[in-house]
């Protein structure tokens, strides 16, 4: 009987799981935790469907525990020319999953020869996240316009999907949802829709520690996509160009010696 040899495969490697579990159990004994905190986006992301299409908004702060890891990161990722996706949760997970799905959707478009539907992207993403049982911590808001019209979906890290006319995700989702519940109407025009999403993200930035910095907006319509990066900027932190400028007379002196120096022609080394 032949035994079979396993084909070595790529993907996630689980070699260090036992070591990590043991390290975590050691943390109870008073020693400081050696485990690094993953860079999360602790975020406010939001989206609405307006009359002609979809508006997606996000803040731009990425945190690593209590420290701000990225003051101006991009949370609205490209999936297809007509589909964009905002991501909350672990930064690396969101970015890599959305890049991989963008590649898969391009292959799908080349195979079928048609524009992608939003539900295709959503199904692929939710099946993928379900297969990893929530260990890939990526909470996504997927919005786009296809042949059936504008649509907006949320996907939670364990793989569940919601379809709604206005959605928020992330740690600032409650603050942003409050703004939506108060101000959303069906059939909004383009500029009131953008202003509503801006207000919602701003509310998340003001009321949530994990969100901050600037506001990014993306507007998707049947005609095309418009991306506004840093539409609302946060206050600039430094005012003067050269902060280390000392006016003359800052250093006090109490003696002055002036001596004349004679310049002699010729090579100094000869002397």
């Amino acid at each position: 009987m032949e035994a079979s040899l396993e084909i070595p495969k790529g993907g996630f490697s689980f070699d260090l799981c036992k070591r990590n579990a043991w390290l975590e159990s050691q943390a109870n004994y008073g020693s400081s935790s050696i485990i690094k905190k993953a860079k999360k986006t602790g975020t406010t992301i939001a989206g609405i469907i307006f009359k002609d299409g979809v508006v997606l908004g996000a803040d731009t702060r990425a945190t690593s525990g209590p420290i701000v890891a990225d003051k101006n990161c991009e949370k609205i990722h490209y999936l297809a020319p007509n589909i964009f996706c905002c991501g909350a949760g672990t930064s690396a997970d969101c970015e890599n999953v959305t890049e991989m799905m963008a590649s898969n959707l391009t292959l799908h478009r080349l195979n079928t020869g048609r524009e992608c539907r939003v539900i295709t992207a959503v199904t692929m993403l939710s099946q993928y996240l379900f297969r990893y049982q929530g260990y890939i911590s990526a909470a996504l808001v997927v919005g786009g316009v296809d042949s059936t019209g504008p649509s907006l979906y949320t996907i939670h890290p364990h793989g569940s999907v919601d379809q709604l006319p206005f959605v928020t995700m992330g740690s600032g989702s409650l603050a942003a949802m409050a703004v939506f519940e108060a101000g959303y109407q069906e059939g909004l025009e383009r500029q009131p829709g953008i202003d509503l999403v801006r207000a919602a993200i701003q509310s998340g930035i003001d009321n949530d520690l994990g969100s901050g910095s600037n506001v990014d907006i993306t507007v998707i319509t049947p005609e095309g996509v418009q991306r506004f990066r840093n539409l609302d900027k946060a206050e600039p932190k430094y005012k003067s160009k050269n902060p280390l400028f000392y006016p003359k007379g800052t250093t006090k002196y109490y003696d002055e010696i002036i001596s004349k120096v004679a310049i002699i022609e010729g090579d100094a080394m000869e002397q």
């Binding site: 040899l5 070595p8 790529g10 799981c17 036992k18 991989m100 049982q133």
Partner: protein, 128 residues
Amino acid sequence: MAEWQLRAKNERKGVRQDVQEEFSLQSHLKTFSAKSFEDYKQTLVRTQGIHAAMRLNMENTILAQYRRMPGFHSEFVGLDTMQDGIQNVGFEDILNDPRESPAMPISLHEGMEQLLNINPSVEPRPSH
């Protein structure tokens, strides 16, 4: 409880359990693809008859047996085409490519001995 008792409770329980215990996601991923393939074959049995499923099984077995010797990379183009792996990009293609791992691959001799089950220094495994 005293600290030494807490420590003893949480200490690792020996080498065998270390090696056999798998992370829950690891075992889930192994069974997930096998299970979804089984479900697909069941659907085939119900809709097209048992011969369709048998033929699928046969084709997969045939395509899986053409590979290079252990330690070398094998392409499996036919198997990928049958199982849709060729049309999808996954983390297996981007992360931890076995061709780029820092560890040396299995030595050819040891791999062949294991495949043919003829390792002379080991007790022969019970086989039926």
